[in-house]
């Protein structure tokens, strides 16, 4: 059967606002499961899921694994090192072999943009994109939306600015699509060398100075600055990046309002974000991590054909 989300979750760009709303709403009852002493419901009992990670990942992989286990799915983790992938097997052969084992879902993290779509086009199983190159990271986008909604109540009309290396960020793209579809106003801020050349056609406000972004925004989603951007010549130094674009307590102190702080992790403290901001009173960075499990449970549940209105009941164990 086709789920309310379709066969796969490849990105937020193809989703409707109703579908995004559905995931966020479905995540709500699942939040509570993680607070129980026995963190397990049988919603996905008998389902087999492969977590296929071609790139190193700690947070996302563990978050998916907890979500799967808390829904009672049977899971297998495949990391690129030590697997046939490292022996030169192509993605299409990997996909066909997985399919031949009659699995139900694949969670894929891959360094190439479009890799999740490539897999989804070639296998019957549901595919969840856990980050493909510099394209999208939809579950991260959804958990960011949930975290913002928790705080603001509604996303419509809220001003959220994404700060940093938008050019190379799949988190940024998923956030831009998700926020815009939910009616938020989106800003982006970063060195022009780290913004896509065509960013002006995304329907976002572009800030070239971080002070202006802070003055405008109600929330900042601060992207990780990869260290290799310096050697590749995009920016001169991390020190200067912190001085010009870093989110510091001093900069936030000049804001006309409290600014909510998000970061998808892992953080470079002292580069894109100062420690006293990351650990400060307006930081919801750990809430994002908690919400990540609930969002991934919701996505898994919906793709498996779970009925949204039964998510609450599914917690009890009788329905699926």
């Amino acid at each position: 059967m086709t789920s309310a989300l379709g066969k796969d979750l490849l990105g937020l760009e193809p989703l409707t606002s109703e579908q995004i709303q559905l995931v966020l709403d479905t995540a709500e009852p699942f939040k509570e499961i993680s607070e129980r002493a026995i963190k397990k419901v049988p919603a996905l009992r008998g389902q087999t899921i492969v977590n296929l990670f071609f790139e190193a990942s700690t947070r996302t992989r563990i978050s998916f694994e907890f979500a799967e286990k808390r829904l009672s799915a049977d899971t297998v983790n495949v990391a690129s090192s030590g697997s046939s992938v490292q022996k030169g097997e192509t993605l299409v052969d990997t996909a066909r072999n997985l399919e031949a084992m009659r699995i139900d879902m694949v969670v894929i993290r891959h360094g190439a943009s479009g890799a999740a779509r490539f897999l989804a086009d070639r296998i019957e199983s549901n595919v969840i994109n856990a980050g493909d190159g510099t394209h999208e990271h939809p579950t991260q986008g959804l958990l960011d939306l949930l975290t913002l909604r928790d705080h603001f109540g509604t996303l419509a009309g809220r001003r959220v600015c994404i700060v940093g290396d938008v050019l190379h960020s799949r988190v940024a793209r998923s956030n831009i699509w998700g926020l815009k579809k939910m009616g938020a106003e989106v800003g982006v801020c970063g060195p022009r060398s780290l913004l896509p050349w065509a960013i002006g056609e995304f329907g976002v406000t572009v800030f070239s100075r971080v002070e202006e972004a802070i003055e405008w925004a109600e929330a900042l989603n601060i992207l990780r600055l990869q260290l290799e951007r310096m050697t590749a010549g995009y920016i001169p130094s991390l020190r200067e990046y912190n001085r010009v674009f870093g989110i510091t307590r001093e900069r936030l102190a000049r804001a006309p309002r409290d600014v909510l702080i998000l970061h998808p992790g892992p953080m470079n403290r002292g580069v894109e974000i100062d420690s006293d901001v990351a650990d400060g009173p307006h930081s919801v960075i750990l809430n994002q991590v908690t919400n990540g499990v609930a969002i991934r449970m919701a996505v898994l549940y919906l793709l498996a054909g779970g009925r949204p209105e039964l998510a609450e009941a599914a917690k009890g164990g009788s329905e699926r």
């Binding site: 479009g114 493909d132 510099t134 394209h135 050349w197 065509a198």
Partner: protein, 429 residues
Amino acid sequence: MTRRLLLQGGRLLDPSRRLDERGDLLIAEGKIARLGGTIDAGESTDVLDCAGCYVSPGFIDVHCHLREPGREDVETIATGARAAAAGGFTAVCAMPNTEPVTDNQAAVGFIIRQALRANAARVYPIGAISVAQRGEALAEFGEMMGAGAVAVSDDGRPVASAHLMRTALEYAQAFDIPVIDHCEEPTLAKGGAMNEGVVSARLGLPGIPTEAEEIMVIRDILLARRTGGHVHLAHMSTKGSVELIRWGKERGIRVTAEVTPHHLTLTEDACEGYDTHAKMNPPLRTAADVAALGEALRDGTIDLVATDHAPHHYDAKEREFADAPFGIIGLETALALVVTELVTPGVIDFATLVDRMSCRPAALFHLQGGTLAQGSVADVTVFDPARTWTVDPSSFLSKGRNTPYAGRTLTGRAVYTIVGGHVVYRLGG
């Protein structure tokens, strides 16, 4: 005496001689013996019914990759020459980025011999500009010319060194051959997978800006001005390049240029869904670029259509977009794409099509053919301008299947391809 060949009842179209009239054409001894009016078949003459078809000088593709030597699994000179004939081409020029590189007279001679054995379209080798296409020392233009090369190019790679390009343009003048450049500023294009723009930004793919091409276009035009050499710019893809070429031509600089059928008919939107069959270099650009290229082909700013036929193995394209190789095949779809997308909408007429696909390539590369003049070599293409067909890659004579046009219904098809008076391709035969 070999049998004579009578092309009967077609419409003779040769823009080099302002010829466009219904009439027969008689071929004898490999040459065009008579044309015009009604010609009696006479004895020992084979008759080809050309009713409803154009009879034109044979098409010449100055830019294709036949992969032999080195990648005979993907294409050979024989399969490439047969694919060319099926597309209505009587001659093609093979780029030198083979393995090993075609950078010496022995390698050129090998291609000539393989082409003779193929007995299909003629194949003219293009020699490398630099030894092993490394962009350092000049290859032996003179020796390669002596063995049968018709031009030089490091295609597949840009000539990164302006000094080398200048030297090549100067040195080539002793032989009166064009120096062909693949215009790509390597540091700006590095790592790019498609046109830099809103689509690449959305798909999260590294972009190649139009300036990567245009910087080299103007560099090459200025070097042609400095040296007086003939620079031929391969596969132009941007509106800006068209403007620069126009600027150069207005000043009498010896610059000529080509455009591929895919850059005339597709935009970056074809990359949606990470379709690796839309991955080419230079990349597919925007609708404004496509329109400018079509207009430039019409007004002659761009001189000719060339395919950049680039076969790849199925597996090579069946992968992640960033890792897939650049290029598509084009020999068997070129004519129909130009008819369907440029002639039918009225951008160019059939005379211009024949000029840009036959007369101009022959003139610029100093090749035989390109004319129906009495006494000239009988390289003739008979094509049906109205025949519709659906692109089925599995039916191609090329070994390549990598085309973004699979399933498209197109208009226009070669019916007979005649090389030196011999029918090397007949539709349905």
